[in-house]
């Protein structure tokens, strides 16, 4: 059984007052197992962050279900919701805005303590913090007692992951957690995710960066206009992309040792839709996503490609 199962999840937003409902997510279904990193790749407006928010119960789905360890998460309230957050936590893009600059950084730990560990004594609590910091390769002396601005972006992001680890976290939603970090520290956070996964954590890694997603994940999901266009084993999806959208994304990725190749269709790589925005709105009627068919084992492709 998957740790997290997402079935036919859709989400609509009203684009303007009295306007039509625009689909941000269209009947998305997939699962994440324990000890697995699933990467959700999409361009801006693809719905990837919306999906992360739905999993974290920050916004409700318009339809469809999210099941965590066999239970529908939409029913959780009060104590049950608190228990859910004991197991499911999120870390977001901008570590700088996740802290209150007036307080010392470790306040993020204290805030958890009052809710989840009200009866834990000080020595035990200190031990817990130290083991969580050790798990994210932080030296307590470097970060405890400091204000957020005294920490680097990488340290701040690690501290937020350590905060999640204080709980009995089983699923981590990591939404663009390294896009604001410097290149020299990015890969350390990725390696940290891999070691957490090896200890049994399920991780949903949301990113727009294909090479980062490729490095870290077991399975990859390509999201476009709120629908899955291709998903499966990371090596298969990147090694043998079947959907034209996936291929176009891959040709646009800047690589160090290879110059951009002209796109397959010979056109310039300019965003192509009429408005020139690169991501045209999906008409509200196009709610049904393309059907996924199996190209090979553990590699699904949207039918419109075939």
């Amino acid at each position: 059984m998957s740790a997290l199962q997402i079935d036919n999840v859709s989400r609509f937003f009203r684009a303007s007052a009295g306007g039509d409902m625009t689909p941000a997510l269209r009947k998305v279904s997939f699962g994440i197992d324990r000890g697995e990193v699933v990467t959700l790749i999409g361009e801006s407006g693809s719905g990837k962050t919306t999906l992360g928010k739905i999993i974290l119960r920050l916004i409700p789905a318009s339809s469809g279900t999210v099941t965590f360890e066999g239970q529908d998460i939409s029913a959780f309230k009060g104590a049950a919701l608190r228990e859910y957050y004991r197991h499911v936590q999120g870390v977001f893009q901008d570590p700088f805005s996740s802290y209150n600059p007036v307080y010392k950084a470790e306040r993020v730990f204290e805030l958890l303590r009052s809710v989840y560990f009200p009866h834990t004594g000080q020595p035990t609590w200190q031990d817990k913090i130290e083991s969580a910091l050790a798990a994210v390769a932080l030296n307590p002396g470097d970060v405890l007692g400091k204000y957020p601005h005294q920490l680097s972006g990488g340290q701040q992001q690690r501290l937020l992951i350590a905060r999640a680890l204080l709980l009995d976290v089983r699923l981590l939603v990591a939404d663009e957690i390294i896009s604001m970090l410097d290149a020299s520290t990015r890969v350390d956070i990725l390696n940290l995710l891999i070691s957490l996964k090896q200890s049994g954590l399920a991780i949903l890694f949301i990113t727009h960066d294909l090479s980062l997603g490729n490095y870290v994940s077991d399975r990859t999901i390509i999201l476009r206009h709120g629908a899955i266009v291709e998903m499966g084993d990371t090596v298969k999806v990147f090694g043998n992309p079947r959907h034209p959208y996936t291929r176009n994304l891959l040709t646009a990725v800047p690589e160090l040792h290879k110059k951009w190749q002209p796109p397959a269709d010979g056109a310039r790589s300019r965003p192509t839709d009429a408005a020139g925005t690169g991501h045209a709105a999906v008409p509200a009627t196009a709610v049904d996503p393309p059907r996924l068919t199996e190209y090979e084992e553990n590699h699904l492709v949207a039918e419109e490609a075939a």
Partner: protein
């Protein structure tokens, strides 16, 4: 040489003392060259870019010259720089595309901007429309508000505006960051096309993203903690970097096709020194696996091979790989 920067130093006055994010910087950019300026946050790359065009109030010019087409720019004098902006040197600052006035249509913004440079709109409007079509946008973007455009469209419009008077030098600060890969590519190719068509003679493209520079830049200048670390052709930087910082930075970048189970990449341990009281010697020394006692002395940024400059004792004195002898 179209652009020549000589021994430029710029400081910010802060409560903790003067902070000097650009220290004794010298380099040249040839006509037709796109030079990438790379480095991590806080290394001074944006300050350097800004200081060539727009020395804002809290910045102070400590010394050095900027020469464009044989003419010394009065970079230290904010007002005296005015006639040179947009005509000689143009800057697309970081986040410029987010700073377009939302209450004015793009066309109106253009008129205001041109008027402030004493250029009549009618003289350049046709050319602007031509360039808008050239990069694949519809000229009706002029009648739209900035929030009606996507990030990629806004960024391209910003670049068209800044290069409308065909400046000798365009400084493009993180113009491809925060964009999707396909839009990134469109903006990167637009810079190359504008250079090829002579809309701008030289470009300094500032970014933390070396893989974008590998696509668009002819040469790359790497900065670390306020000083220059290495300059060379793009191929040399990417394939055979000399400075240990450049080497470690490149080694930490995942590429498509590289997965953790095949090759574990590593970051650079530690973090850059604070620029308030920075170390006297090589600023990378405490993160550098090759550091020796000599590194307590600042290495000069000097030519080690034709077309290659490096500030590193290991390179200039030819220390062998692997530890102190």
């Amino acid at each position: 040489m179209s652009v020549k920067v000589e021994n430029l130093s710029v400081a910010y006055r802060m409560r903790a003392g003067d902070v000097c994010p650009v220290e004794g910087v010298s380099f040249t950019v040839a006509d037709g060259e796109i030079m990438g300026l790379a480095g991590e946050s806080g290394c001074g790359k944006s300050t350097l870019g800004n200081s060539l065009v727009f020395m804002e109030g809290r910045m102070r010019h400590l010394g050095g010259r900027v020469v464009v087409d044989g003419q010394v720019l009065p970079v230290a004098d904010f007002r005296a720089m005015r006639p040179y902006r947009m005509t000689k040197v143009s800057l697309v600052p970081q986040y410029a595309m987010s700073a377009l006035n939302p209450t004015r249509r793009i066309g109106r913004l253009t008129t205001d901007l041109l008027r402030s440079h004493d250029v009549r709109e009618s003289d350049v409007l046709e050319e602007m429309k031509r360039r808008i079509r050239l990069i694949g946008l519809d000229e009706d973007v002029l009648s739209r508000y900035s929030f009606e455009l996507s990030g990629g469209m806004r960024q391209r419009v910003t670049i068209i505006l800044s290069t409308l008077l065909n400046p000798s030098l365009l400084i493009a600060d993180e113009v491809t960051s925060a964009l999707d890969v396909s839009t990134q590519r469109a903006v990167g190719e637009m810079l190359m096309e504008f250079r090829d068509r002579g809309f701008v003679k030289s470009v300094i493209a500032i970014t933390h993203d070396l893989s974008i520079l590998a696509q668009i830049a002819d040469s790359i200048l790497v900065m670390y903690a306020g000083r220059l670390a290495e300059k060379a052709s793009t191929a040399d930087i990417v394939n055979a970097p000399l400075h240990p910082y450049t080497q470690m930075l490149l080694a930490s970048l995942p590429e498509v096709g590289v997965r953790y189970d095949k090759a574990t990449l590593t970051g650079i341990p530690g973090r850059p020194p604070s620029l308030v009281n920075p170390p006297r010697g090589c600023r990378f020394a405490d993160r550098c696996p090759f550091a020796r006692a000599k590194c307590a002395e600042a290495p000069p940024f000097e030519q080690v091979q034709p077309g290659r400059q490096v500030a590193c004792w290991k390179v200039s004195e030819g220390w062998p790989e692997g530890g102190e002898a």
